[in-house]
């Protein structure tokens, strides 16, 4: 009897303590159509919250990237990836992208001189985008 209990216990240990992906549907695809409605309901949160969330992710990606020592040459690929997760394919036309980048540069403690280099490299001199980066940089409040 004791052996049986030990056997069942050994068999169950990995299962009873594990925290596997609860299903492929959560991580990779939404296989249950009923989850579509849940996802749509969740996504229908306010537009302003969605914008804020996008700006914050671009800010945090930028800060992490710059603090890790990355330069602008490989930076934009990561921006594309962050933007796509927020439903944005043309991130160059979205002011929130540049405001997020500006805030991220401030968060990463970039000096105004370093900021100018990033502005030039990322905007090619476009005044509107340059101003958006500056707005983000100026409006970020360090902790």
């Amino acid at each position: 009897m004791r052996r049986i209990v030990l056997l069942v216990g050994a068999l169950w240990l990995p299962v009873a303590t594990g925290c596997l992906s609860s299903s492929e549907s959560i991580s990779k695809s939404i296989s249950s159509p009923f989850e579509w409605s849940s996802a749509s309901s969740a996504s229908s949160r306010s537009s302003s919250r969605g914008r804020e969330s996008y700006r914050d992710d671009v800010r945090d990606y930028t800060a992490a990237y710059v603090q890790s020592g990355g330069d602008y040459t490989t930076f934009t690929r990561g921006v594309s990836s962050v933007a796509a997760k927020h439903g944005v394919s043309d991130w160059e036309s979205d002011d929130d992208t540049y405001e997020g980048i500006g805030a991220g540069l401030r968060k990463a403690n970039q000096t105004p001189a370093q900021l100018s280099v990033w502005q030039q490299n990322l905007t090619g001199g476009d005044a509107h985008k340059t101003a958006a980066i500056q707005d983000g940089y100026d409006s970020y409040k360090p902790r």
Binding site: V8, W12, L13, V15, A16, T17, G18, C19, L20, S21, S22, S23, I26, S27, K28, S29, I30, S32, P33, F34, E35, W36, S37, S38, S40, S41, A42, S43, S44, R45, S47, S48, R49, G50, Y54, D57, D60, Y61, A64, Q67, S68, G69, G70, T73, T74, R77, G78, S80, S81, V82, A84, K85, H86, G87, S89, D90, E92, S93, D94, R143
Partner: protein
């Protein structure tokens, strides 16, 4: 006494309201059969919930979900109660923790993107190897969003005699903004660069991976090649202006026609989209091809919507999307689709009212409308008997068509073999490096330990010694939860440790679906009648079985004393169902056999008074879903 009471009340009313302390919530999600049989944990910051899941190749990866969606998936569809322990923190600690979790998510996502790129190199070089042995049409490369204009196996895009007016407009805009020769010049330059392009595997493994450092790698061969080929295809589509394919667009005939204001908002969106596409055609961004192709398709869709007065969207489902999982019985399926359709209709109406009411319409908002409309039309099609395709979680549509004209020249056989070997080696080495950082370990690195490791790194820094992170935890959270050498790696034990050690200000429970339903049903009939009816899977009205559930007969989550007896019945049912599954194997590909085996397996703990299996839901009543948030 009465005067004292009045005075106290007046004082209370007059006193300035104390600021609400910031709170993070440690969540313990109860066990159920399936992947999370030991329970699960997560950390919640308001409307964002972070947690870790084991994925393929034995890695554990962070996820961030919208809180309402997390609750629906786990508490309602997963039928697992969520117990929240509320921890009071200062504003600074809240921000520090949130930053730490977000940073880890973004860093990890970037590291996984790198893995996908290295795997892409292997696939590309295998394709290069096939080029010498297989006929040209079977050797092709998928181009995202190209299927909205072109069929699989397309080569260079030929000129169209009767092209799309929407795309011709953009083409004229490009000529006006960048010069009449711009398009032909950029296409020629891309072709020239591809004509000399050769795939080269990654040699340098790059800097060591860290949990807190964003990787900065150069583009791999597959990323570079795909970007160039997508750019070339997009510019060729722009130059030849083909009409969108008939199967690319979906007209929302199940929704109300567009009103005058919605038409005005969409018209302004189309005008802005045209301008953005003109700029995108000249972008220096290496990966501009995909957004350009997608934007051209969307422009055609919006123009079609304005012409017909109804929402028209691109079909977001991939060409080869598999069938979605649905309840097998006709009645269950009909009930399921009616519930899902009702909820999606409501979400679609809410999105329209919210997002098509004000200008300008942002791309991210358009994506939401496009996604929800697609899913609603898919469900409504399913109710009329059409197949329902499985959707993916990516927000942007990317229906790909394969391009058979690869432009870049083939490599000599020896060179391909050498590069392929190097590419495989690079991918394997990187996967191993990821495994060092994120390899799943039952005791040392699971969903619990990763939460606390991320908390420690956020509060004290990634490389802080244990004493320093413990001191930071005491100072900012009120105490320490140790995971090394304790049983705290078990989700339910960790929740108790959090309650004991941190500055806890309260507890909250999100009931499971069945708990809610049983409470609601309590007053509808005699208690004994409700209890008997809801105790079996055959008669319960509070159970809409998920296709993934195992075979069992008796619920054991609400009864403790009779649990071993019920477990014995479930064990026999599982064994019998598994035996029947042996005979139905040729028809159901072992599905019933698997359900029977799992049913027997999850009955074993019930024999010892332990409940894990609770049943999960294919669908839930739409009124249980969270209401959409308003501005």
């Amino acid at each position: 006494m009465q005067r004292l009471g009045v005075t106290l009340l007046a004082l209370c009313l007059a006193a300035p309201a104390a600021a609400e302390p910031r709170v993070v919530e440690y969540l313990h999600i109860e066990a159920n059969e399936g992947g999370s049989s030991g329970g699960h944990v997560a950390l919640r910051f308001g409307d964002e919930t972070f947690h870790f899941q084991q994925e393929g190749a034995g890695l554990i990866r962070m996820r961030r979900d919208d809180t309402p969606l997390f609750n629906v998936r786990y508490a309602l569809l997963g039928n697992r109660a969520i117990h929240a322990t509320r921890i009071a923190v200062s504003d600074e600690t809240y921000a520090r923790l949130h930053d730490g979790f977000t940073r880890r998510l973004l860093v990890q996502d970037a590291q996984y993107d790198r893995l996908a790129a290295l795997d892409g190199d292997v696939a590309l070089l295998e394709l290069w190897r096939r080029r010498s042995t297989e006929p040209s049409p079977s050797v092709s490369v998928p181009i995202r969003a190209a299927a909205y204009f072109l069929a699989d196996g397309f080569a260079a895009v030929p000129p169209q005699p009767d092209g799309s007016p929407a795309i011709e407009d953009v083409r004229a805009g490009v000529a006006a903004a960048h010069g009449s020769d711009f398009l032909t010049g950029r296409i020629a330059a891309l072709r020239a660069s591809l004509a000399g392009w050769q795939p080269r595997a990654v040699r340098d493994p790059g800097p060591a991976l860290r949990r807190d450092a964003s990787p900065a790698f150069a583009a791999t061969a597959s990323v570079d090649y795909t970007a160039r080929l997508e750019a070339l295809t997009a510019l060729e589509v722009l130059a030849s202006a083909p009409n969108v394919r008939p199967d690319a667009l979906r007209v929302a005939t199940d929704l109300a026609p567009l009103d005058a204001h919605e038409r005005a908002v969409l018209s302004a969106f189309a005008a802005e989209l045209r301008q953005r596409l003109v700029a995108l055609a000249a972008s220096s961004r290496p990966d501009f091809g995909y957004p350009l192709l997608l934007g051209l398709g969307r422009l055609a869709a919006v123009d079609a919507a304005l012409a017909c007065g109804r929402l028209v969207v691109l079909d977001r489902f991939p060409v080869d999307a598999p069938d979605a999982l649905l309840p097998s019985g006709a009645a269950d399926r009909a009930e399921y689709l009616a519930a899902a359709g009702g909820e999606l209709r409501s979400a679609a109406a809410h999105l329209r009212a919210q997002l098509l009411a004000v200008e300008p319409l942002r791309e991210a908002d358009y994506t939401l409308i496009e996604t929800t409309t697609n899913r609603l039309l898919e469900i409504e099609g399913g109710r009329r008997g059409r197949r329902i395709r499985q959707d993916n979680a990516a927000p942007l549509p990317a229906r790909a068509a394969r391009r058979a004209e690869l432009v870049a020249p083939p490599l000599a056989a020896d060179d391909v073999e050498r590069e392929l070997t190097l590419a495989r080696r690079a991918a394997a080495a990187y996967r191993a490096a990821l495994g060092e950082l994120y390899g799943y370990d039952l005791f040392a690195r699971n969903c619990v330990s990763e939460i606390f490791a991320t908390i420690d790194a956020a509060l004290a820094g990634a490389d802080a010694p244990r004493e320093a992170s413990a001191a930071a935890s005491r100072r900012q959270l009120g105490g320490v939860v140790e995971t090394d050498g304790t049983l705290n790696f078990i989700p339910v034990v960790s929740a108790a440790a959090v309650a004991r050690n941190y500055a806890v200000v309260g507890h909250d429970t999100e009931p499971s679906y069945r708990e809610r339903r049983l409470r609601a049903l309590a007053d509808t009939a005699a208690p004994w009648h409700v209890a008997l009816r809801e105790a079996t899977t055959l008669t319960a009205t509070s159970y809409h079985p998920s296709p993934m559930d195992s075979a069992f007969l008796l619920f054991t989550d609400q009864t403790v004393a009779l649990r071993p007896l019920a477990g014995a019945v479930n064990l026999m049912v599982g064994i019998a169902d598994g035996a029947a599954g042996l005979m139905t194997w040729p028809i159901d590909h072992g599905r019933r056999l698997s359900a029977g085996f799992r049913g027997a397996f999850f009955s074993l703990p019930e024999l010892a008074f332990v409940n894990i299996r609770k049943g999960s839901m294919a669908w839930i009543e739409p009124e249980l879903l969270p209401a959409p948030a308003d501005e």
